[in-house]
C-alpha cells in the first residue's frame, strides 16, 4: 500500500482544493478532467490553498481558479503572465499557477510568453488548448488547423497554426509537457512535476471543446490516438529531440514530458531574493531618503 505523505507536511486531499462554485462548462468539456488533475496535483504538492495564487486570463478555461480554493485572479484577456510574475516577485514564497486557453496565451497573450520563459520565475503555466475560441462561441484560434471552418473562417482557415510546444521549446522553456484529460492520472502527474520543477514550466493540455470542436477531436479520440513520450523512448533531457517530436503537434497527441532541463537555471525570483539579501539595509533609511539630494 502506498500512502506516501511527507511526515512534516499537513496532508491535503484533492477535495481540499475544490471550491463550492459549480463549473459552468458544457457537459463533456475536457476542462473537467483538467480540474480533477489540478486538484490531485495540488494535493500531492501539499501547499495550503491560502499559499497558492492562481492567475488566469479570459476564456472558459480561465474560469478554473474560481473552482479551486486557492486565491485566484481571473484577470483580463492575455495578461495573466505579467500579473503572475508580479505576484511571484512581490511574494516569492507563494506557489503561483497560471491558466488559460490557447487564444488567451498565444494570440493576445503571445507577446508575454517569451519574456515569462526567459525570466524564468518559478511559476507553472497550464494552457487548455482546444484549437477554438469557446467562450465567445466558436471563432478561429491561433492553434486551429489550416482549413478549419469556424464562424470566422466560413471558407476554411487560410492560416497555419502556432505550434505551442515548439514555440515554448524554442524560447528556451526548461520544462515542457503535454497531457490530455483522457489520461487524467498522467496529466495530474505532469502537472505535479511541472509545479515541482524550479522555474517557468509549461503544460499544454489538449482539452477539447465539446460544443464547438468537431466530434473527431473529442476525448474518446484522444484515448485512441494518444502516445506517451515515454513509450517512444524519448529522453526528456534532450531539447532537440523534444523539438523534433514537437513538430508533430497537430497530427500526433504526444503525452508526458517533452523537455525537462536536468540543470535548472536560477529562477528570477531566486536571483532577486539573493540581491535583496545582499543589498538589505544599504540604502538610506526611508525617512532619510531625501538626504541623497542635499547639496553639501
Amino acid at each position: 500500500m502506498n500512502t506516501s505523505t511527507a511526515a512534516s507536511l499537513p496532508t491535503f486531499q484533492a477535495k481540499d482544493f475544490k471550491s463550492d462554485l459549480k463549473p459552468i462548462w458544457c457537459p463533456g468539456c475536457g476542462d473537467f478532467g483538467v480540474l480533477q488533475a489540478i486538484y490531485r496535483a495540488l494535493a500531492g504538492i501539499g501547499r495550503a490553498p491560502h499559499d497558492i495564487a492562481f492567475v488566469s486570463g479570459i476564456g472558459c478555461s480561465s474560469r478554473i481558479p474560481g473552482y479551486t480554493t486557492a486565491y485566484g485572479f481571473n484577470s483580463v484577456h492575455g495578461r495573466a503572465l505579467p500579473i503572475a510574475q508580479g505576484i511571484k516577485l512581490a511574494n516569492p514564497d507563494l506557489l503561483v499557477l497560471v491558466a488559460g486557453g490557447d487564444g488567451d496565451g498565444f494570440s493576445i497573450g503571445g507577446g508575454h510568453v517569451p519574456h515569462a520563459i526567459r525570466r524564468n520565475a518559478d511559476i507553472t503555466y497550464i494552457v487548455m488548448d482546444n484549437q477554438i475560441y469557446g467562450l465567445t462561441k466558436g471563432q478561429l484560434s491561433p492553434t486551429s488547423p489550416r482549413g478549419l471552418k469556424t464562424v470566422t473562417s466560413e471558407y476554411g482557415s487560410v492560416e497555419s497554426p502556432v505550434n505551442p510546444l515548439l514555440y515554448v521549446l524554442a524560447y528556451g522553456a526548461n520544462f515542457v509537457a503535454q497531457g490530455t484529460p483522457a489520461d487524467m492520472q498522467g496529466l495530474s502527474r505532469v502537472i505535479e512535476e511541472a509545479i515541482r520543477y524550479p522555474g517557468f514550466s509549461f503544460v499544454n493540455v489538449q482539452s477539447p471543446c465539446v460544443t464547438f470542436g468537431a466530434e473527431d477531436v473529442q476525448v474518446k479520440e484522444h484515448r485512441a490516438h494518444m502516445k506517451s513520450l515515454e513509450s517512444l523512448g524519448h529522453n526528456p533531457s534532450d531539447r532537440l529531440a523534444a523539438m523534433g517530436l514537437a513538430q508533430h503537434y497537430g497530427t500526433e497527441l504526444h503525452t508526458g514530458i517533452f523537455y525537462r532541463n536536468p540543470e535548472p537555471p536560477p529562477t528570477m525570483d531566486g536571483l532577486l531574493r539573493e540581491r535583496q539579501q545582499t543589498m538589505a539595509g544599504k540604502g538610506l533609511p526611508r525617512e532619510r531618503i531625501l538626504d541623497a539630494f542635499v547639496q553639501k
Binding site: 486565491y71 505579467p82 510574475q85 512581490a90 507563494l94 544599504k282 542635499v294
Partner: protein
C-alpha cells in the same frame, strides 16, 4: 538683484548643460532658490543643447520668462531653440567671438539687446587647458564675474567634478574659470547687476528633479514594487527603482511592454504590496484596460503619467497638459479614479505620498499626473520634514472578519477589508468580472448597481479635501486665476506679481484634479466674475471638466496654448490686467486666447 534667468545654448559637445548643472549646484549649495530646465535636439547625442537656469534669493515657482542673460556658443544652435530662450532689450548677450559675428549684427530678430559681448570663449579655454573643451567653464567664470554669484561654490563644484581625473585637470579648469572672471571684470556691464546673497544657511537645500523626487517619495511611502517600461520623459523613475528598491526589500521589473509593466504592478498589489508604474501619454493609453481591472478588483495602485506633447507619439521631449481627460476617464465602464497633479519638484514629494495613501485607503488606482517640465527640471527644494507624514496601509481583515470573509463586503464607507495570498481564511477570487460580496461572478443588474455605488461612494470623501487645493488671495476677489501641474507654479508667480501691482485677484491651484470637488470650486467661484483657467493644451481639459461638473462663471474662460512652449508670466499677467480693466466695465466680455 534678487532674480536672474540665464539661458545657454551650444552644440552637444560643448558641455553647456553641464555648465548649467554646475551653476545650479553651486547656487543650491549657497542657498539660492533655483530651477534648471534643459532642452535638446532630436539626436541621441551630439545635437544642439540648451539649458535655462533661474536663481533667486527667494523661492520661485516657475522657470521664468525673458532671459536676463543669454549665452550662445554658436548662433545656429541658439536660434534652434527659438521661443524657449526669449531675449529682450535688457538681456545681457554673451557669445563666442569665434562665430565671427559683430555685436551689432547678432542674428536675433526684432530685439536690440543693449549689452552684447563677443567673448573669445574658445580661445580662453584653449589658453587655460590646451583644448577648447573647457568653454563651459569659461562661461561659468563670465557669469560669476558679471553677476557676482557663487564663485567659491562653483570652484568647489569644479574641484569635485574633475577630482577623479587628477589635479592637473582641476587646476586647468580653475584657470579657465578665472580667465572668464577676469574678462568680465575687464569688460564691466554698463548697468551693473550683482546678485544679492540668499537668506538662510548654505548646504541645506536639496537639488533634485521631479522624477527622482517622485521615486524617492514612493519608496518613502512604502512602495515595494515597480513595474514599467522605458518611455520619455518618465524613464528616470524606473531607473531609480531598478537601482534602489532592492535595498528596501522590494522588487522592480522592466517589463516587455507597457501593459506587462502595469500588469506586474497589479499582481504585486494583489499579493499585498504597495505597487506602482510610471509612463507617459502613449503608455497611459495602453494601460487603460489594466486600470479598469484595478478599479473593479479594488486594488491599490499608483500610476505616474509624466505628460508630454500628444496625441500619439506627439512631442516626446516637451511638456503638455493634454492627458487629463485620459487620466480621468480612460478605461471603459463607469470608473472613478483619483488624479493628483504635482506643481513643483517640491510638492511632488507630498503629492506622491498622498497618492499612495489614497490608493491604500480607498483600494483604488490613483494617477499622479506630472508633466515633462516638472519631472525633468532640477529644482532646489527646502528641507522636508518627513516626520510630519503619515503612511497609510490598506485595511486588512481582522481574525473575526476572516471567519466568514467577504472580500467585497459592502460597508458603510464602501471600503472592504482586503486580504492577500498567504493570509489564511482570506482566500478569494480577484476578478475583472462583476461580482457579489463574496467575489463570485454575477450578471445581476441589482448587484452591479450596488457595486458601482460602493466603488464610487468610497471615494466621495475626496471631494471635501480642502487640503488638496491651494487657494490664495482675498475671498471676495472678482478676478480669478486657476492653474494646475506645472502651470500651478506659473500662476503662483503671476498671482504674486498681479497682487504686488495692486490687482484684486484670487488664485486656485488644485492638486486634486479629478474628481472635480464641486463644492470647493463653487465656494471659490462664488465671488468671481472674470478670470482664466490657464492650461498647456489645445482643449483646456481642466476647464472642460469644470464646465462638466460645476458652475463656472461666464467671465472665467480657458486660456490655453498647445504644449512645448509654456506661457511666460508676462503673457498671462497681460491677460489678467485686461480682464481687470474689463471688470470695471460690466458689459464687456473677454474672449479666450490660444
Amino acid at each position: 538683484m534678487d532674480d536672474l534667468v540665464v539661458g545657454m545654448a551650444g552644440s552637444g559637445g560643448d558641455g553647456i548643460v553641464s555648465a548649467g548643472e554646475s551653476l545650479i549646484a553651486a547656487a543650491a549649495y549657497e542657498g539660492y532658490s533655483a530651477m534648471m530646465t534643459k532642452s535638446f535636439g532630436s539626436q541621441v547625442r551630439g545635437g544642439e543643447s540648451s539649458c535655462r537656469v533661474r536663481l533667486a534669493t527667494q523661492r520661485v515657482y516657475n522657470p521664468g520668462g525673458l532671459l536676463d542673460v543669454a549665452v550662445a556658443l554658436n548662433w545656429e544652435d541658439f536660434l534652434k531653440f527659438g521661443a524657449e530662450l526669449p531675449v529682450s532689450g535688457s538681456t545681457v548677450v554673451i557669445y563666442d567671438s569665434k562665430t565671427g559675428v559683430a555685436p551689432a549684427d547678432i542674428p536675433l530678430q526684432g530685439v536690440a539687446p543693449r549689452e552684447v559681448f563677443a567673448v573669445p570663449i574658445g580661445e580662453m579655454a584653449k589658453q587655460a587647458t590646451g583644448t577648447d573643451k573647457a568653454k563651459n567653464t569659461v562661461v561659468l567664470g563670465l557669469i560669476a564675474g558679471w553677476f557676482g554669484i557663487a564663485r567659491l561654490s562653483i570652484l568647489r563644484g569644479l574641484e569635485k567634478k574633475f577630482a577623479r581625473k587628477g589635479a592637473a585637470l582641476v587646476q586647468a579648469n580653475e584657470k579657465a574659470f578665472i580667465l572668464g572672471e577676469q574678462f568680465a571684470k575687464e569688460h564691466p556691464l554698463a548697468t551693473p547687476r550683482a546678485m544679492n546673497a540668499p537668506k538662510g544657511t548654505p548646504g541645506k537645500k536639496m537639488l533634485v528633479d521631479g522624477n527622482d523626487m517622485c521615486a524617492a517619495a514612493s519608496i518613502f511611502a512604502g512602495c515595494q514594487f515597480f513595474g514599467g517600461y522605458p518611455i520619455t520623459p518618465s524613464t528616470e523613475i524606473m531607473q531609480f527603482f531598478t537601482r534602489e528598491v532592492w535595498k528596501y526589500g522590494g522588487s522592480a521589473l522592466q517589463a516587455e511592454d507597457e501593459i506587462a509593466g502595469i500588469g506586474a504592478a497589479v499582481g504585486a498589489s494583489f499579493a499585498g504590496k504597495k505597487a506602482m508604474t510610471a509612463t507617459s501619454g502613449p503608455g497611459l493609453s495602453l494601460k487603460s484596460e489594466m486600470m479598469g481591472l484595478a478599479s473593479i478588483a479594488e486594488l491599490p495602485l499608483v500610476i505616474v503619467d509624466v505628460q508630454r506633447g500628444g496625441p500619439s507619439t506627439g512631442l516626446p521631449t516637451k511638456p503638455e497638459q493634454s492627458d487629463l481627460f485620459t487620466a480621468a476617464f480612460s478605461a471603459h465602464g463607469d470608473v472613478l479614479r483619483p488624479v493628483l497633479a504635482p506643481t513643483s519638484v517640491s510638492d511632488t514629494f507630498d503629492v506622491t505620498v498622498e497618492a499612495f495613501n489614497i490608493a491604500e485607503r480607498y483600494q483604488t488606482p490613483v494617477i499622479i499626473l506630472s508633466d515633462q517640465e516638472v519631472a525633468q527640471r532640477k529644482e532646489t527644494v527646502d528641507p522636508i520634514d518627513t516626520a510630519r507624514f503619515t503612511i497609510e496601509e490598506r485595511r486588512r481583515p481582522t481574525e473575526a472578519e476572516l471567519q466568514d470573509y467577504a472580500r467585497f463586503r459592502i460597508t458603510e464607507d464602501g471600503v472592504s477589508p482586503i486580504s492577500h495570498p498567504g493570509m489564511k481564511g482570506g482566500n478569494y477570487q480577484g476578478a475583472g468580472i462583476e461580482h457579489n460580496e463574496h467575489a463570485n461572478p454575477t450578471a445581476s443588474g441589482k448587484l452591479h448597481a450596488a457595486m458601482n455605488d460602493k466603488r464610487f461612494r468610497k471615494l466621495a470623501p475626496l471631494k471635501a479635501r480642502r487640503d488638496l487645493f491651494h487657494v490664495e488671495g482675498s475671498p471676495n476677489a472678482k478676478l480669478a486665476l486657476v492653474g494646475w501641474g506645472s502651470f500651478g507654479g506659473l500662476c503662483r508667480e503671476v498671482f504674486a506679481r498681479a497682487t504686488a501691482d495692486g490687482l484684486d485677484v484670487k488664485l486656485m491651484v488644485p492638486w486634486l484634479v479629478y474628481p472635480i470637488a464641486e463644492e470647493i470650486y463653487r465656494d471659490f467661484f462664488a465671488s468671481v466674475r472674470a478670470g482664466f483657467v490657464v492650461e498647456l493644451s489645445h482643449q483646456g481639459q481642466l476647464y472642460r471638466l469644470l464646465r462638466m461638473f460645476t458652475d463656472v462663471p461666464a467671465g472665467v474662460t480657458s486660456l490655453t496654448r498647445s504644449g512645448a512652449n509654456p506661457f511666460q508670466p508676462d503673457e498671462v499677467l497681460a491677460h489678467l490686467r485686461r480682464a481687470a480693466v474689463s471688470l470695471q466695465q460690466p458689459a464687456v466680455s473677454i474672449a479666450s486666447e490660444e
